[in-house]
Amino acid sequence: MINVALPKGRLGEKVYQMFAKAGFECPSILENNRKLIFENKEKNVRYFWVKPSDVSIYVERGAADIGVCGKDILLEYEPDIYEILDLNMGKCRMAVAAKKDFYDDTNKTLKVATKFANIAKKYYASKCRNIDIIKLNGSIELAPILELSDVIVDIVETGTTLRENNLEVFEEIVPISARLIVNKSSFKFKTAEIEKIASSLKEQVEAND
């Protein structure tokens, strides 16, 4: 049985379609209900919906053999897993944003509001910049407006939220997209099934390019 952790939401639904196309369909997943686990015994596969930022934990700890999650989560939590495919979906970028009139005074400690403390810490360490991280869990864009922070480090998709709040991207840190991740131990014992899924998904990604 292959256990697959999918991120709740639009991305997860798209990814499920790719798995179904690869021959691992599970029609019950399309029913509109509140169930969390869906199984197709015939295809030897089980899917579950989890919070996107938790997918890597399910995979690292072996509750799921494989999963799909954003590169942002992998960079932030650095789980010990195999990252075997870039699905080229859910594309966005990790960026530093600030108010349009922001002036970066390098003589001062930079106050950075973010959900991604590890990514922010590493990025500014690579630039030898002294920062004060303010860990927030949501509405990051509010921080510079209320002068809680100088800048934010966050995911930027279209930039609409930033524009509407008079903020703009100052520096891009890294491009982000969804990745197929695998538990290291599962990879040793379910190699053939995992390779089958990965190669079919790879073909689909390449066909979409």
């Binding site: 010990d80 897993i81 990252e83 040793k188």
Partner: protein
């Protein structure tokens, strides 16, 4: 006489492994829980986790709860030609766990072979790693890599250390797409970039992997590392562990300490790597020793995950009594114990207790 019923899986494993290592002439090694912190500061990168739990002793010297066993074993010892020191251990190590920053006590069993080691010793240690996992479960895999193969491959692509470290990180994650991006970023020639990306896909049964490696014409260093790998695989081919062995180059250890053969072990049903091992001549060199060394450690704690050993009952028999005289009670208890059953005596049934049989002695007689 040990009653198997009371032996936890981990305890049974440790006992079996002791006799296995002993039969190959490895001597037991017991060490102190504490070690001078300085030893770990000097060899920080050798440690698996960067968190060391420290405290000061009564003289103000900074000590650490030992986060690693190998360093304590190899820091002393004599280097003599033709001689080897072979030891095994079962020890707790103390680390700070990555994300939650909690203190963790981890039980490890393993062995070290230090001295004038040769191909046979490498073979013996890898064989013992296989035998150890076999003693735990029949569904296991030992994957072997050669760090020389990896480093010579990286050397042929670029001399930039930053690039090489980033690629190594990708190889560890079987991440070919990121290698492609890195090669573009660092201006690596297309043929070399393709070589690095395709290398990620080389893993599995030894025969097929070695065949693929032969097809790659990288460098003389690469070929000589492949030959070392072939020599060890040839020896393992004649053992019963042949089918359990795979080659996989995603094992990436710090090359300042490790060199040559490195290996990991997995057990079906345990989500993390259970066994870590490899040759660490670099570490010995840093400690000023001329010897070479190889060893491995098994994370015994992880075996709890295998399941199948949790108790479904707290006790076989619950004896309920009130004014029953102590003599009668003791006779009833003794009668069940002599039948090999476990007994608890209570005046009231404790909440949540699980028992197989209830014996009600209230009122001084056996009630139905």
């Amino acid at each position: 006489m040990i009653n198997e019923r009371y032996l936890k899986n981990e305890e049974r494993v440790i006992y079996t492994l002791r006799s296995l290592y002993d039969s190959y002439g490895y001597l037991p090694f017991t060490m102190s829980k504490f070690e001078e912190y300085e030893l770990y500061v000097k060899n920080k990168d050798f440690l698996v986790s960067d968190g060391v739990i420290t405290f000061t002793d009564t003289n103000g010297k900074l000590l650490a709860l030992k986060p690693d066993v190998t360093l304590s074993i190899i820091k002393n010892g004599q280097d003599e030609k033709g001689v080897k020191q072979k030891v095994y251990y079962s020890e707790n190590v103390y680390r700070i766990s990555g994300s939650t920053r909690q203190f963790k006590e981890i039980m490890q069993t393993g062995l070290e072979c230090i001295g004038d080691i040769d191909l046979y010793d490498v073979f013996e240690v890898v064989t013992l790693a296989c035998a150890s996992l076999e003693a735990i479960s029949e569904n296991y895999v030992v994957e072997i890599s050669h760090l020389g193969v990896l480093s010579s491959l990286l050397d042929c692509a670029s001399s930039n250390d930053e690039f090489k470290n980033a690629v190594m990180e990708c190889i560890k994650q079987k991440n070919a797409h990121e290698i492609k991006k890195l090669c573009k970023e660092y201006g690596i020639k297309e043929d070399k970039a393709n070589l690095l990306c395709s290398f990620v896909g080389i893993y599995g049964k030894a025969d097929s992997v070695l065949k693929k490696l032969d097809e790659l014409n990288v460098s003389d260093d690469f070929a000589s590392s492949v030959n070392e790998l072939k020599a060890i695989v040839a020896l393992l081919d004649s053992t019963k562990y042949k089918d359990k062995i795979q080659l996989d180059f995603s094992i990436v250890n710090d090359m300042n300490y490790y060199n040559g053969i490195v290996f990991n072990g997995f057990i079906e049903g345990v989500c993390e790597t259970v066994l870590f091992g490899g040759k660490y001549d670099g570490l010995l060199d840093k400690l000023g020793r001329q010897s070479k060394g190889i060893g491995f450690a098994i994370y015994i704690d992880l075996l709890e995950e295998m399941g199948g050993q949790s108790r479904s009952y707290d006790v076989d028999v619950l004896v309920l009594y009130d004014k029953t005289d102590a003599k009668t009670l003791s006779e009833v208890v003794a009668s069940y114990i002599s039948k090999g059953q476990s007994v608890t005596t209570q005046k009231e049934i404790p909440e949540r207790i699980r028992y197989k049989e209830l014996v009600d002695l209230r009122g001084g007689k056996i009630n139905d």
